[in-house]
């Protein structure tokens, strides 16, 4: 369970990014966070990833205050989270296969495990035939699917996706969302932020609407309303 308890964040220049946000996300939920640019969606995710500290308030992940985790143990916490970004953030000089296996190397998995798991994940994201392609040889949708593969390879409890479809055309958007739904059905919590009305409306899942750093609407079976 993820709990934001009265979280407020002011950046150094004084602009408020989050203003007294409280919300709970249960395991295996699929949550879409919508809102205009600058509404605080990305800041909210950065709080959860322990990339930013809240000015006030607490962020809990399974009874643990995320910002109390000492720096030398933080990587253990981050292994419970899989991250996907709008700009994919693949390593350009590694193939699709290597980008995914890299995530396993990074947490110290053995070669045997890597050799058996990576092809399985590549099939799951429907890239089995493009394993040896470099990111620049892949389309945007394919790159994002590699990024999703990388995010789920270590079986995280939560997938955090910051505008995963922001750079994709409708067909690729549909594919990426289908994969995220499939992952969610397999038991992983998925949190995405998005601008895409079609995605949110087609999903029929929980929607949190943010505006100027506040949660203005939280519908269990929501639509994209701004």
């Amino acid at each position: 369970m993820i709990l934001f308890d009265r979280v407020t964040k002011h950046y150094k220049d004084g602009t408020p990014a989050l203003d007294d946000v409280s919300l709970t996300i249960n395991p295996k939920e699929f949550v879409s966070i919508v809102g205009h640019s600058g509404a605080g969606k990305t800041t909210l995710l950065k709080m959860l990833l322990a990339e930013e500290r809240p000015t006030e308030g607490l962020v809990f992940f399974e009874e643990v205050n995320v910002h109390d985790i000492p720096a030398n143990l933080l990587h253990h916490y981050r292994r419970k989270l899989g991250t996907v970004f709008q700009d994919f953030r693949l390593i350009p000089n590694r193939t699709a296969y290597e980008n995914i296996s890299f995530a396993m190397e990074a947490i110290g998995k053995g070669d045997d495990e890597i050799a058996s798991d990576v092809p399985y994940i590549l099939d799951l994201v429907d890239l089995g035939d493009k394993a040896q392609h470099f990111p620049h040889q892949l389309s945007g949708g394919e790159q994002q699917r590699v990024a999703i593969g990388r995010a789920i390879i270590n079986q995280p409890d939560v997938i955090v996706a910051d505008e995963p479809t922001g750079n994709l055309d409708p067909v690729n958007t549909f594919e990426v969302i289908e994969i995220l739904k499939k992952i969610n059905e397999l038991g992983t919590t998925v949190i995405i932020t998005t601008h895409n009305k079609g995605v949110v409306d087609a999903m029929g899942k929980r929607v949190i609407t943010m505006e100027k750093g506040r949660v203005v609407r939280d519908d269990p079976r929501g639509h994209y309303i701004l």
Binding site: R79, K80, T83, R89, I91, I107, G108, N154
Partner: protein, 278 residues
């Protein structure tokens, strides 16, 4: 890094040249005790033995009256006038002398003190020493001692400065490497890579760079020492750089590879700690 280690290597050469030069200069400095012409040889030899027992004294060389005369003749063989004057004197006007060589130039003061306090005396109590040339040499000896001290201190300072400079250079290099790889590092962080996993490669790269630089320097010194030795042999008073290098290759190897290893490893470790916020 290569340049830094080259400087370290050159410092080894410099210190070798310096110590060689100092040793040869030290070797030339001595104190001569001139005895009166009537001093009996047995007394002088006895005194020589007493001097040789002083721990600071490295060796004492005895020059008899006849040897002194011969040396004088040899020195003035072009100078007929002086030789004539010597002939007219009939007797040998030169006294015997002892040449005292100390272990260290700074020991001369205590040796001379010994000479002044316990001079060899004849049976009637008159001193046998005509003069000690220490007081003429004293200025030279003092200056030399000072020069040696100053050179050693300056050498240590230079080593320290260059070590500092090379650390800063290595620091900047690693910083650049971290900057270049910042996207990759950000990805690794988000994927939950441990700190050692992220930092390790930079430290290893620093060590490899340091050791490689050491090998480059070792290889470069070979031809450099070869050509430099023939050009500088006369000037350095018989000190052969190339022979020194080949004879002390193990020393160079250990110092340079060790310095490269430590410099690369330590500098990159601290740079990584400093610039890699995890």
């Amino acid at each position: 890094m290569t340049v830094t280690l080259a400087i370290v290597g050159l410092l080894i050469f410099l210190s070798a040249i310096l110590s060689h030069t100092l040793a040869s200069i030290k070797d030339k400095v001595d104190v001569n005790v001139y005895f009166v012409t009537t001093a009996p040889e047995s007394e002088i030899v006895a005194f020589q033995r007493r001097l040789a027992e002083i721990p600071e004294v490295e060796r004492v060389t005895y020059t008899s009256r006849e040897e002194a005369l011969q040396a004088f003749r040899e020195r003035h063989k072009e100078d007929q006038l002086t030789l004539q004057a010597l002939e007219e004197l009939g007797d040998n006007p030169l006294g015997a002398s002892l040449s005292i060589k100390a272990e260290d130039p700074s020991d001369y003061a205590s040796i001379v003190e010994f000479l002044t306090n316990e001079p060899p005396t004849a049976v009637d109590g008159a001193t046998l020493i005509e003069r000690v040339n220490y007081f003429q040499n004293k200025v030279v000896i003092d200056r030399l001692t000072q020069a040696i001290d100053a050179t050693e201190r300056a050498g240590a300072l230079i080593v320290l400065l260059f070590a500092l400079a090379s650390t800063v250079i290595a620091f900047a290099t690693v910083r650049l490497a971290i900057y270049t790889a910042r996207d990759e590092i950000a990805i690794m962080r988000l994927m939950g890579a441990s700190n050692t996993f992220i930092r390790g490669p930079f430290v290893v790269a620093g060590i490899i760079a340091g050791v490689l630089a050491a090998f480059i320097v070792l290889a470069l010194f070979y031809p450099v020492a070869f050509y430099a030795s023939s050009a500088t042999a006369a000037w350095l008073g018989g000190f052969n750089l190339f022979n020194y290098y080949t004879n002390h290759f193990a020393l160079f190897f250990v110092i340079l590879v060790g310095a490269g290893f430590l410099l690369g490893g330590i500098a990159s470790y601290f740079a990584v700690r400093r610039y890699l916020r995890i």
